[in-house]
């Protein structure tokens, strides 16, 4: 055991304390919103600033309003669809593409790889992209959210590297057993590289969950809004009118409930992620590592 000098001990104590403070700073904003969302709305409205504990009586009316709101529910369901269908399509394309590109024999693979890499250097830009979606008659369709971002080049390359690392002898013996490329890809490669497959699926899913910008360009009917776009209306554009129809309550009460609904909406949209995140943390970290080894 290394003996610590007094200075080192002092640093050690300081270090523990500093990291504690950093953790509090990271945690506080979420705590603030959580506490405010179950507080008495009138008290939250009149006393802003720091919260350590809920103000007034524990109050779940904000959550009730959010849960009863048909838009939030449809936003959730839409996002679920976009995440599910989008991730499935992305994985399908990424896996077959990565498998094919990981084969060393085919003559044209190098050209295809070049065609793909070029797109990392140069993009068409926003307006040409928008016009393309428009010209394909995809405006205001669910496909406009899923199709344009179906393949991510980075993920494709990481997956290709993982497939290329599967020993050639395994592929050869599968071939001898009569497996074609299609079968080899799904029955041999995917299980052999399952860690990478899981990580890439996770990355695609998270990206789709966070997607709001493309939908804001393409989607005009509210029934197709993903959750994040709805959140923008409520949190950024301050449009909570439809959510706080409380009948005959006074103006200030309306205002305070509007604020409460905001906090509750943030919680409802964040809790699912924060609940699953600690369990998936390992995979995300693995994902960064895989990506960095490639880079």
């Amino acid at each position: 055991m290394i003996k610590q000098t007094t200075g080192e001990k002092a640093f050690s104590v300081f270090n523990y304390f500093l990291l504690f403070v950093i953790s509090i700073v990271c945690l506080y904003p979420i705590w603030h919103v959580a506490v405010a969302s179950v507080s008495d709305p009138l008290m939250v409205f009149s006393k802003r600033g720091f919260y350590l504990w809920p103000l007034g009586e524990l109050n779940l009316r904000g959550y009730k309003l959010v849960m009863q709101n048909p838009n939030i529910l449809s936003g959730f369901l839409n996002t679920l669809f976009y995440v599910g269908a989008g991730t499935a399509l992305s994985m399908f394309l990424t896996i077959i593409g990565a498998y094919a590109l990981s084969r060393k024999g085919p003559h044209w693979n190098r050209l295809v790889m070049k065609i793909i890499i070029v797109t990392m250097y140069f993009q068409g830009g926003l307006i040409p992209f928008y016009l393309l979606v428009k010209d394909l008659n995809l405006l205001d369709t669910r496909m406009s959210i899923i199709l344009p971002i179906a393949v991510n080049t980075w993920n494709l390359i990481v997956m290709r590297t993982a497939f290329a690392a599967v020993p050639e002898s395994v592929v050869e013996s599968a071939k001898l057993d009569g497996a074609g490329d299609w079968r080899t890809c799904w029955v041999i490669m995917v299980p052999m590289a399952q860690a990478t497959v899981a990580v890439i699926a996770l990355f695609y899913a998270v990206r789709m969950w966070n997607e709001w910008f493309n939908p804001s360009l393409f989607i005009s009917s509210k029934t197709k809004y993903p959750l994040q776009l709805l959140l923008r209306e409520i949190l950024i554009k301050n449009d909570t009118k439809s959510m706080t129809q409380l009948g005959s309550v006074g103006q200030s009460q309306q205002e305070s409930y509007r604020l409460l609904v905001k906090y509750c909406t943030i919680m409802v949209a964040t809790i699912p992620i924060l609940l699953v995140y600690p369990f998936l943390q390992r995979y995300f970290i693995q994902g960064i590592m895989i990506g960095s080894i490639k880079g």
Binding site: Y121, I127, L229
Partner: protein
């Protein structure tokens, strides 16, 4: 030779086809639309039928006062984000590396990685609430004896809010890679340093930092390469007419001119300028990183 290649590998080519089709349609398709930058877009005539105007829109952009403003803002926001946002995760990783108590270390990691998983829209929603004159930051200003204002309506604070929230969100997450580089340093080096009379601080400077220097170099280069293309979603969510002076960057300007004001040709021209700059940065970054990794492998 080509025929034999086809006969042998047609199933592989069949599997590439959907991916290739994706890239042709969604990545090369928009490149065709770049023509608009040199044309006067007429919706009814389409891209092909619209008349040529040459470099009219480029001249219009560079002659306008906005060109300097958006380029300056893009450079400044990214510069500060790099200068402050890049070293902090390294320092954080070094500090975390000194913690011997595994449980404490894990807890700090889990908590500091968490903000990374909150979506941009929600981060911005919280920022708008916290920076309001009666929000959390307003309270801090009051405690410090100042007069609270709505921080997002003041151009002079926009960059700080942008960079600060980025650090809040990514400090922990960005440290992961440095932390793993630190754990791969040979422990014998630390022991040797201790025998040579190095304290904790000297060990960090003389063993830890040189040990992760290659990682730092590569990540720095990659980040510079991606510099001009990041983060415009957050800007669109946070800026407003009052803060355009410091907040409006090239990509948000492209968005506003094109999508909001329907000025398609002009917006495409500015977007092309942005794409070209991005391209130069990425190429340069890749060249340098290729050279670096080669020499560091000796």
């Amino acid at each position: 030779m080509v025929a034999r290649d086809w006969r042998r590998f047609w199933p592989v080519y069949l599997m590439i086809l959907p991916v290739l089709a994706y890239y042709i349609l969604w990545c090369y398709g928009p490149m065709y639309g770049i023509l608009l930058a040199f044309k006067e877009y007429a919706p009814r005539k389409g891209i092909m039928g619209s008349p040529w105007v040459g470099t009219k829109y480029f001249i219009e952009f560079f002659a306008s006062p906005y060109a300097f403003r958006v380029i300056r803002n893009t450079v400044l926001i990214n510069f500060w984000n790099l200068v402050i946002g890049f070293p902090l995760p390294i320092v954080f990783a070094l500090l975390l590396n000194e913690i011997r108590h595994t449980g404490y270390k894990r807890t700090v990691q889990t908590i500091t990685y968490m903000p990374h998983f909150i979506s941009t829209v929600i981060i911005c929603g919280m920022l708008i609430d916290f920076t309001a004159s009666d929000g959390v930051f307003g309270e801090i200003i009051r405690i410090l004896g100042g007069t609270p204002v709505n921080l997002l309506s003041k151009p002079e604070y926009f960059r700080s809010i942008y960079v600060g929230s980025d650090i809040w969100q990514n400090l922990g997450w960005d440290s992961i890679i440095f932390l793993s580089a630190l754990t791969s340093i040979n422990t014998e080096l630390y022991e040797a340093a201790t025998i040579d009379g190095c304290g904790a601080f000297k060990r960090a400077i003389h063993v830890s930092v040189p040990g992760i220097l290659p990682t730092i170099a590569i990540l720095l280069i990659l980040r510079i390469g991606a510099m001009m293309s990041v983060g415009f979603e957050k800007i669109i969510l946070l800026y407003n007419g009052l803060t355009y002076e410091t907040a409006d960057v090239i990509s948000s300007y492209v968005y506003r001119k094109g999508i909001v004001e329907n000025n398609f040709s002009f917006s495409t021209a500015v977007g092309l300028f942005n794409s070209v700059i991005n391209c130069i940065l990425v190429v340069a970054a890749n060249r340098i990183s290729a050279r670096l990794t080669e020499t560091s492998l000796w």
